[in-house]
C-alpha cells in the first residue's frame, strides 16, 4: 500500500518543538554543558569529563541530603495518603456542607509556598509563636531552630497541613464517581463496611491515588521554599534536603560544575522513582 507522504505536517509541530526547546531542552543542555566542564567565568571552559559526577556520587554530603530527602518524602507520603483518604471518606457526599468542606480543604492549597513557610515559622517560634508557646507551656521543651527532631517534626507537619488537601480532593472526586449501584449491591451481598472500603472504594480509587501519590512524591522530593523559609536547612544541616543543598552549592559556593552534575543526577533519580511508582501502581491494570 502506498502511503501518502506529506511533510507539511511538520509545520504544525514546529511551534511546540520551539517552545519545548526554549523552556526545557536548551536550559537542560546548558546544565549538561556545565556538568562536564570547569569554568572560571568569561566563558572560558575546560573539559573535565565525568569528574563532577564522580565527585557528587562519592560525596558524603550528597548521600546525607539524599537520605534526608528520602526520609522526608517517605514520611509525608505515609501520613498524607492515608490521612487524605480518611478525610475524603468522612466528608459529606451531598448537602450544603459539601461546598463548605471543599472550600476549607482547598484553602491551604491556595497559599503561596513562601507564605506557608513564613506562617509556620512565626506560628512555631518557641518564644513568640502561638504553637511554640503552647508546646513549651505544656512542659515540653520545643525549639525548632535548635532541636533537629523539632525542626523535622515542624517541617513534616507543615507539609501535611499544606498538601493533604490535594490527596483529599482527588480521593473525594474518586469516591464521588463510584455509582450508587455498587453500594446497593454491597448491601444486598451483606458486605461489611470494611469490605465495602477494601473491595469497592479502594480499588475504584486506585487511579486517582496513583496520580495523588505521583504528584505528592514529585513535589515533596523537589521541595525547596517551605523548609528554606521555615528552617533554612538547619539546625546545622539537619533539614537540608536535596534542592536546598543544590542551591547552596550552586549559588552559595558558586561551584557550577558539581551543581550541574548534581542537578542531572537529581533529575534522573526523580524520573526513575516516578517510573518505578507508576509501574508498580499500574501493574495488572490492562489485563
Amino acid at each position: 500500500m502506498d502511503k501518502t507522504t506529506n511533510q507539511k505536517a511538520w509545520l504544525f509541530v514546529i511551534p511546540v518543538v520551539v517552545l519545548v526547546a526554549f523552556n526545557a531542552l536548551i536550559p537542560l543542555m546548558t546544565v549538561v554543558n556545565y556538568s562536564v566542564q570547569e569554568t572560571f567565568g568569561d566563558n572560558v571552559f575546560f573539559w573535565e569529563g565525568v569528574k563532577w559526577f564522580e565527585q557528587v556520587l562519592n560525596s558524603d554530603r550528597f548521600h546525607a541530603s539524599f537520605l534526608r530527602q528520602l526520609a522526608f518524602t517517605g514520611m509525608i507520603l505515609a501520613i498524607e495518603v492515608p490521612l487524605g483518604i480518611a478525610v475524603a471518606l468522612s466528608m459529606p457526599r451531598k448537602g450544603p456542607w459539601v461546598s463548605v468542606c471543599l472550600v476549607l480543604m482547598a484553602l491551604p492549597l491556595l497559599i503561596p509556598w513562601n507564605v506557608v513557610g513564613a506562617m509556620w515559622n512565626i506560628f512555631a517560634l518557641p518564644d513568640t509563636g502561638l504553637l511554640g508557646r503552647m508546646i513549651n507551656g505544656l512542659g515540653i521543651e520545643y525549639n525548632f531552630t535548635q532541636q533537629p527532631v523539632a525542626a523535622w517534626m515542624t517541617t513534616v507537619v507543615m507539609d501535611v497541613w499544606h498538601w493533604t488537601s490535594l490527596v483529599v480532593l482527588l480521593a473525594y472526586a474518586g469516591l464521588c464517581s463510584i455509582p450508587d449501584a455498587y453500594y446497593q449491591a454491597a448491601k444486598i451481598d451483606g458486605a461489611s463496611s470494611w469490605a465495602v472500603f477494601w473491595r469497592i472504594q479502594l480499588p475504584k480509587l486506585k487511579r486517582v491515588l496513583t496520580i495523588a501519590i505521583l504528584l505528592r512524591f514529585m513535589d515533596s522530593f523537589m521541595i525547596y521554599t517551605e523548609p528554606f523559609v521555615l528552617t533554612g536547612g538547619g539546625p546545622g544541616n539537619t533539614t537540608t534536603f536535596l534542592s536546598i543543598d543544590l542551591v547552596k552549592i550552586a549559588l552559595g559556593q558558586f561551584d557550577l560544575g558539581p551543581a550541574a552534575a548534581m542537578s542531572l543526577i537529581y533529575f534522573l533519580i526523580v524520573l526513575l522513582l516516578c517510573w518505578v511508582f507508576y509501574t508498580l501502581m499500574m501493574r495488572g491494570e490492562d489485563r
Binding site: A181, Q184, I188, G190, A191, R287
Partner: protein
C-alpha cells in the same frame, strides 16, 4: 421464597410532600405471588426503580407497608430481606476473581468454605461461567459481568425474590437475546420469583407471565401480555404497548351513542355514566379495516413492511393508523374504514369504560 404484598405504598423523595406531584410513586397496591415472573414496564422516570428499591429495602417508603408473606418488612434492612438485585450497570468487585465474586455474598454471611465451593460451582455451571472462574472479574465483557451480578443473587439459597433493574441496557443486542432466554430458563428451573424492570415492551412481554405497566408513578394495569394487548385499561397502556400503538381518538357522547367526528361507533364499552372531562375511543391498528359500510377517510401514508402494511388515514382532523395484511388491496378511490366493535373501547379521562 415468599409472596410479596405492597399495601398503600407511596413514596416521595421530598422531606415534606404536599401535593400529588411531589410523589415519585403514587399509591400502589400490588401482590407478587411466589414463583412468578413479573415485569415492571414503563417509560423512564415513571417510578419503576423507586418501586423496586422499596421492595429491596434500599428505600423506605414514605407511606404504606411492604409484606413478605405475612411479615411486615417495611423497616427491615436490605440484608435481612433475602433478596437479590441486578442493576442496570453490571456491578462486579474488580479486584476479585469470578469465583470470589460469586462467593462474596456467602462468605459475608459466614457460610462454610466447602459449602461455598459447592454452591459457586453449581451456579457457575448454570450460567456457563465455569471456564472463567479463575479469571479476574474486571477483565470480563459486559454480559459476563452481568452474569456475575446475577450469579451473586443465585448462590444464596434463601433468596425470596430476584429483581432486575433494566439489566440488559449495556449488553450487545445479539447477546441480549441469549441472556434473556437464560433468565427465562433459570426461572423455569428454579421457580424463584423474579421481577424485571424495563422500559422495553419486547423484553417485558417475552420475559414475564404478568406485567405491571406504570405511568407517572401509578400502576395503570396489571395483566398478562395478552390482556395488555387486547384489553388496555388505560390509554397509556394502549399506546405504549404494541407497535404502532393504539389509536386514541376524541369522542363525544350524544343521544345515547358514542360519536367519533360525527360517526356513530359501536364499542365493547357501555356508555360512561359519570361526568368526565375527556372521552376518547381506543382501537388498535390491527382492528381497523377497510369496509365499504364504514366512514370515508383520506389515505395519508402507506408504509410497506413486507408481511403487512401500516396505513395512515385521516378523518375529521384525526389520523388513524391501521395494519393491513399484504394480500389486501388498498382501495384507490373513496376508501372507507370501520372499527371492530369487540375491540373498540371508550376511555373516560384515560381509564377504560367497561
Amino acid at each position: 421464597m415468599a409472596k410479596i404484598t405492597l399495601q398503600h405504598v407511596k413514596h416521595s423523595y421530598l422531606p415534606h410532600p404536599a401535593q400529588p406531584q411531589d410523589y415519585a410513586l403514587q399509591e400502589v397496591d400490588a401482590v407478587w405471588s411466589d414463583g412468578g415472573a413479573y415485569a415492571l414496564l414503563g417509560p423512564s422516570g415513571c417510578g419503576k426503580t423507586t418501586l423496586l428499591n422499596i421492595i429491596s429495602g434500599l428505600l423506605t417508603p414514605s407511606e404504606g407497608r411492604v409484606l413478605f408473606d405475612d411479615d411486615d418488612v417495611t423497616d427491615i434492612a436490605t440484608t435481612e430481606r433475602h433478596i437479590a438485585q441486578i442493576f442496570q450497570f453490571p456491578v462486579v468487585y474488580d479486584t476479585m476473581s469470578v469465583f470470589d465474586n460469586l462467593a462474596f455474598p456467602l462468605r459475608n454471611r459466614g457460610v462454610a468454605e466447602d459449602k461455598v465451593k459447592l454452591r459457586v460451582n453449581e451456579v457457575a455451571a448454570m450460567l456457563d461461567l465455569d471456564d472463567s472462574l479463575r479469571r479476574r472479574a474486571s477483565g470480563l465483557t459486559a454480559d459476563g459481568k452481568q452474569k456475575i451480578s446475577l450469579g451473586r443473587g443465585l448462590v444464596r439459597e434463601d433468596v425470596n425474590v430476584i429483581m432486575f433493574d433494566e439489566p440488559l441496557t449495556v449488553i450487545d443486542p445479539h447477546l441480549k437475546w441469549l441472556l434473556r432466554s437464560k433468565l427465562k430458563e433459570l426461572h423455569q428451573q428454579l421457580g424463584i420469583t423474579m421481577i424485571y424492570v424495563t422500559h422495553d415492551q419486547t423484553e417485558a412481554l417475552t420475559f414475564a407471565d404478568r406485567v405491571l405497566v406504570m405511568f407517572e408513578g401509578t400502576v395503570v394495569q396489571v395483566g398478562t401480555p395478552v390482556d395488555l394487548f387486547e384489553r388496555p385499561e388505560h390509554t397509556f397502556v394502549g399506546h405504549f404497548i404494541g407497535s404502532p400503538g393504539m389509536n386514541i381518538l376524541p369522542c363525544e357522547i350524544q343521544g345515547g351513542a358514542a360519536l367519533f367526528a360525527g360517526n356513530v361507533l359501536r364499542t365493547a364499552s357501555s356508555l360512561p355514566t359519570k361526568d368526565s372531562e375527556r372521552i376518547e375511543v381506543g382501537v388498535r391498528p390491527g382492528f381497523v379495516r377497510f369496509d365499504d359500510g364504514g366512514f370515508a377517510v383520506e389515505i395519508v401514508n402507506v408504509e410497506d413492511l413486507g408481511r403487512y402494511k401500516i396505513v395512515v388515514v385521516a378523518h375529521g382532523g384525526s389520523t388513524i393508523k391501521m395494519i393491513v395484511d399484504e394480500d389486501i388491496q388498498i382501495p384507490s378511490e373513496n376508501p372507507r374504514i370501520s372499527f371492530d366493535p369487540n375491540h373498540t373501547r371508550l376511555y373516560a379521562d384515560g381509564w377504560v369504560v367497561e
